[in-house]
């Protein structure tokens, strides 16, 4: 039986910009992306797509749906997932989805997953690279009534079970759960594959369904935020670095060692 995997991918402002170009509009409580820098798939979500593709390669019988909740431009990250080897896309876009908290986001995603109906495995990144909360995968699992395994560095599926190698700061774990299940994927899984030109061309022809709040039977009450953003700002650092002078590395090193000694740090 064909395994149906859904990968949730978020479109975010490009994170790979110098910190000096990072700007926040404090009044709007929003990040202002530098001009000309296009939004990208959240890093860990692209790795979740890679995890899905590895399962597809290994089992030979899997269908992968790339799902994204966001603005109309989120179609681009769906197309990227389809170019990586995804089979079809679901774009969740509606004015009612504009300022959701994690609960609202997971409500929309889980409702769409339930609407698909036959989903065996949901993959998400361990956290989105904008808010860095790392809760959406777990909330989706709660909402669809499935077990969740977080921080995967390897995901395999066999015999109606998902087996996950988890990576933790001090340990490696192998955890398994019966399908359907939700798994969140960490960077240790490896780099996402780079689509070839013909895959990008093929992706353009793949089906992307667009669903709004009405299609999902969701009203404003179900999406009301439980966590409110009061303020978003860039922290100021007041450290002023003292650069060690010296014509040679030895002079610089000697100066630093003296400074560290005087400050009683060594």
């Amino acid at each position: 039986m064909t395994l149906h995997i859904v990968v949730c991918v978020k479109q975010v402002p490009d994170w790979d910009i110098p910190p000096s170009s990072f700007k926040v509009d404090e009044a709007a409580k929003k990040v202002v992306p530098p001009a000309g820098v296009a939004p990208v798939p959240s890093q860990f979500d692209a790795i979740a797509v890679e995890a899905a593709m590895r399962i597809k390669d290994a089992t030979g019988d899997a269908r992968v749906t790339i799902m994204s909740l966001g603005a109309a431009t989120a179609r681009d990250v769906i197309k990227h997932g389809l170019a990586m080897g995804g089979d079809e896309g679901v774009l969740l876009v509606d004015d009612a989805f504009n300022s959701l908290d994690s609960n609202g986001t997971a409500t929309v995603l889980s409702t769409a997953i339930k609407k698909l109906g036959d989903v065996d495995l949901v993959l998400t990144g361990r956290q989105a690279v904008d808010w860095d909360l790392g809760v959406t995968g777990t909330l989706i699992a709660e909402m669809v009534g499935a077990p969740v395994i977080t921080f995967a560095k390897a995901v395999t599926v066999a015999d109606g079970k998902v087996t996950v190698q988890r990576v933790l700061p001090d340990a490696f774990e192998t955890v398994e759960a019966p399908l359907p299940a939700v798994v969140t994927v960490s960077n240790e899984l490896g780099e996402p594959r780079y689509p070839k030109l013909q895959q990008i061309m093929a992706a353009a022809k793949k089906q992307v369904n667009t669903w709004g709040a009405g299609d999902l039977g969701l009203d404003a009450g179900a999406l009301a935020p439980k966590l409110t953003l009061e303020r978003l700002f860039v922290p100021v650092t007041d450290t002023k670095v003292e650069i060690m002078e010296g014509d040679t590395p030895e002079d610089q090193a000697t100066a630093l060692a003296k400074k560290l000694h005087d400050a009683k740090l060594i």
Binding site: W15, P18, P19, S20, F22, V31, D101, S102, N103, R126, V129, D130, W131, D132, L133, G134, T138, E142, M143, F151, L168, P169, D170, A171, F172, E173, T174, V175, E176, A177, P178, A181, S186, E188, A224, P225, K226, L227, T228, L229, E230, R231, L232, P235, T239, V241, E242, I243, M244, T248, P249, E250, Q252, A253, L256, A257, K258, L260, H261, L265
Partner: protein, 320 residues
Amino acid sequence: MPHGVLILAELMDGKLVPITQELVGAAQRLSAGPVSAMLIGSGVEAAASGITGVETVYVVDDPALAEYTNDAFTSAAEAVARQADPAVILLGQTNIGRDLAPALAYKLGTAVAMDTIGLEMTDGKLHTTRPAYGGNARAVNSFTASPAVATVRPKSQDPALGGSAGAVTKVAVDVSGSRTKLVERKVATAEGVRLEDANVVVSGGRGVGGPEGFETIEQLAHLLGGAVGASRAVADLGWRPVAEQVGLTGKVVSPDLYIAVAISGASQHMAGCAGSKNIIAINKDADANIFKAARFGIVGDYKAVMPALIEAVKKVKAEG
């Protein structure tokens, strides 16, 4: 009426870990009513007396809780939360906390703020401050649901010292039927000083060019009685074990002295070391972001600087 603050105590090898008293400290400073703790595991009741500065310690002790699983711990924590009925629940941003907190918040019909570094009661409501956008921004959140649940970054809060142990209340919960099953756990042991506990950390970034570049980093760490750290790029490339990764998705360290060698200072990395008391940057790029956070810096090639620094430190130490 929800009242007080409930914290999750954590054990490692049967001993309470520092985050427990840090959470008690944070909870006390909120002045939001009595502070209680929950202790979840198997054979853990004896550790309850080590949690000080709390009124009550809720203990869920069950053989099925010997190893952490999301399902079983969520059930246990939910049962305690319903009995204690707190206004605020605090957990550590630890292996357990970051996995458990969202599920617990969902079960309680509320929301969670993850990885917070600031907690404050304003008009009787919890406001949390947390890094976002890879550490580039700070977000302040409040809650429209109750209880307010937050995970707290280790070492971001001063621990509560002293005070008396809480009265133990046992809570019986059916935690059987966990859908997730732990098949194997291998503890990654790093040699020498534990990175999170080290007073000195010497870290290397992608700029060292390869695993062999860590030779002088190891030497300097050893000389200073410190631990070796690495950037995420270095861990991802397999030059150093994941256990040494410092950053947003790795460990958070706050040593007295953090020496960043050939590390550019991406926000991702700074999220893990910004709490260090003194950051020293060695980088050949004078514009590298790391210098913005550093107290002292050397602009130069680490290959030349590190051997010279090791010699200079030896000399200074010898002279006392």
